[in-house]
Amino acid sequence: MNAPEWKNPVVRWIDFRLPIFSFVYHELGVYPAPRNLNYFWTFGSLAGIVLVIMLASGIVLAFNYTPHATMAFDSVERIMRDVNWGWLLRYIHMNGGSAFFIVVYIHMFRGLYYGSYKYPREVLWFLGVIILLLMMATAFMGYVLPWGQMSFWGATVITNLFSAFPLVGESIVTWLWGGYSVDNPTLNRFFALHYLLAFVIVGAVAVHLWALHVQKSNNPLGIDTKGPQDTVPFHPYMTVKDLFSLSVFLTVFSMFVFFAPNFFGEPDNYIPANPLVTPPHIVPEWYFLPYYAILRSIPDKLTGVLAMFGSIFVLFLLPWLDTSRVRSGSFRPTYKKFFWVFVVDCIVLGYVGANPPEGYFLILGRVATIYYFFHFIILLPLLGWFERPLPLPTSISQPVLGGRAAATARHMEKA
């Protein structure tokens, strides 16, 4: 489909030299989206919008924030008290972090259920995992900036993980800290990197979208689109659907920002950082709890650290670990069940991560950790061999429309 002949002379002049209008027209206007996408497919655009919200609020917060060990805590409280709408900006940014992870985790579980990581979308999936890693680094460093007790001790615990590596471990930690303990140099570089990584995420998202627009969206049936009868133009069909999702999201998000802004936070982070007093329980933000549980369920420090990083890196191998050629879980009766077992396993890991690693929690954490890796490394390769998938529909338009596909396809051409 070619871009329309632009009528506005200025637009035409620019578009001839830099086809930016044609680009938008192709990628956001007529871009063919499978017509059977369900609401789980709106979480991608939602994540993009949350990223924009984070950038906008974060940049204004940076106007007013002081990255210094003796001033950071008070500068955040000054934002809360004396900066016009500062409390709103900060609560949006604070809760936006949690919202970003909720949206992205749902986006990823959708990918797992419908096999969106399979041929030909492996690179798209890798880029998504890279975005997740960048988000984790950014969120961790952002959490350090208010310089409360959890900021300080969270930074101490997490940076100390690198000391587990033999020979170079201690030097790496000193290098990360910029000294011999978490202190002002650490805070300074975390602020610089937090700001930088946000824009690295923007870059990674751009490439993620590029990869998406090459192979196009997967869909709930997991079968390829076969022609215009299977797709709808992105605008207005997907834009309006994404807009509806966005308004639902903003409603829920606002309830947290305005009525329960500290729901996801730890009270201890309203105590200024004190290197001499360790909080009774050092817990990371909720979105890190499953990884924290994996780390603590293994007695050996180095193995624990490797398992924690491994829990993410195993996702890079996923396109090959899953040997089934059927994408959608809807046609994989056994996988479908194990998918939900896996979701529960992740929630159990989060629950264990929030509690001290003792007694019952220690055992539960170990079982859940073993199951996490069992799911990827043993179950998925075997399922592909032994599972008998249900028969796949021949096309997207057929199960959706029955015999009326042709009529609607004609209608689409007019639209």
């Binding site: 017509r35 369900n38 609401y39 789980f40 008070d74 409280e77 809360m80 008290r81 409390w87 709103l88 609560y91 909720i102 749902i106 579980f109 259920y113 709930p220 709808v232 207005p236 069909y237 309006v240 659907k241 807009l243 509806f244 966005l246 308004s247 639902v248 903003l250 409603t251 606002s254 309830m255 920002v257 305005f258 009525f259 802004p261 500290n262 730890e266 009270p267 201890d268 309203y270 105590i271 009774p280 329980h281 817990v283 909720w286 709890l289 809807s330 939900w340 979701v343 529960v344 929630i347 989060g350 629950y351 991560g353 929030a354 509690n355 001290p356 609607t408 209608h411 639209a415």
Partner: protein, 254 residues
């Protein structure tokens, strides 16, 4: 698909409740009714004023309130003159002047609330080695928030026979470990309220907790009132976008 959606929502809801850390220590806090709780909550002005009086006459002997400037007290309903008078009661070190000397002057509304001690060491020396924490954010900085503060203030008891108290510590039912350095702070009639409210320990504890809830979140009323408008708008907006979505997709579902 619908089952997937429902299960996912259920899983998410479960995840949210399950991952909220709930390390309970000591006996469960009694749940008080706070007029500032809930989405329509506002601070009781009378309680704020009485609470400020309790802080000023009792707590401020040991506890600082470093995030509050005198000018902030407009938020609890004090007039500009009252604030000037309250600030002027304290001496503030300023300077250096043209000769290079530091000098003392009466406090101004633009000053931070004057702390009882010059620094942590001075505070520890005066308080038997303990450091009374700053109270500005106390309500946000403890699990249980206002319930915890109220419980601590009203939780002083004689130590049970089997508990060996350390020197200079006091038994408190709700303090982690039960041994708190702060001596019983509130006693019946300890302050005289201008509005005639009887100064029972419970009233003083409630009022000072209300005041400290305000110092922790002075934006709370504005935040909740704006929130109601924003959420109402978004609910209507969501309804509209849903209607538009239905209209746009009507062709495809026909």
């Amino acid at each position: 698909m619908r089952r997937f959606a429902l299960s996912a929502l259920a899983a998410l809801a479960f995840g949210l409740t399950a991952t909220t850390p709930n390390a309970a220590e000591g006996p469960a806090l009694p749940k008080e009714h706070w007029p500032f709780a809930g989405i329509f909550g506002t601070f009781d002005r009378g309680a704020l004023n009485r609470g400020f009086q309790v802080y000023k006459e009792v707590c401020s002997a040991c506890h600082s309130l470093s995030l509050i400037y005198y000018r902030h007290l407009e938020g609890i309903g004090l007039t500009a003159e009252e604030i000037r008078a309250i600030a002027a009661e304290k001496e503030v070190t300023d300077g250096p002047n043209d000769e290079g000397d530091m000098f003392k002057r009466p406090g101004r509304p633009s000053d931070r609330y004057v702390a009882p001690f010059a620094n942590e060491n001075a505070s520890r020396t005066a308080n038997n080695g303990a450091y009374p924490p700053d109270l500005s954010l106390m309500v946000k900085a403890r699990k249980g928030g206002p319930d915890y503060l109220y419980a601590i203030l009203t939780g002083y008891k004689d130590a049970p026979a089997d508990v060996k108290m350390m020197d200079g510590l006091h038994y408190n039912e709700f303090f982690p470990g039960h041994q708190i350095a702060m001596p019983l702070p509130l006693s019946e009639g300890g302050v005289t309220f201008a509005d005639g409210t009887a100064a029972t320990v419970e009233t003083m504890a409630r009022d000072v907790t209300t005041f400290l809830a305000w110092t922790a979140e002075p934006e709370m009323e504005q935040r909740k009132q704006l929130g109601v408008k924003v959420v109402l708008f978004l609910i209507v907006f969501t309804g509209l976008t849903y209607a538009v979505k239905r209209k746009v997709w009507a062709d495809l579902h026909a």
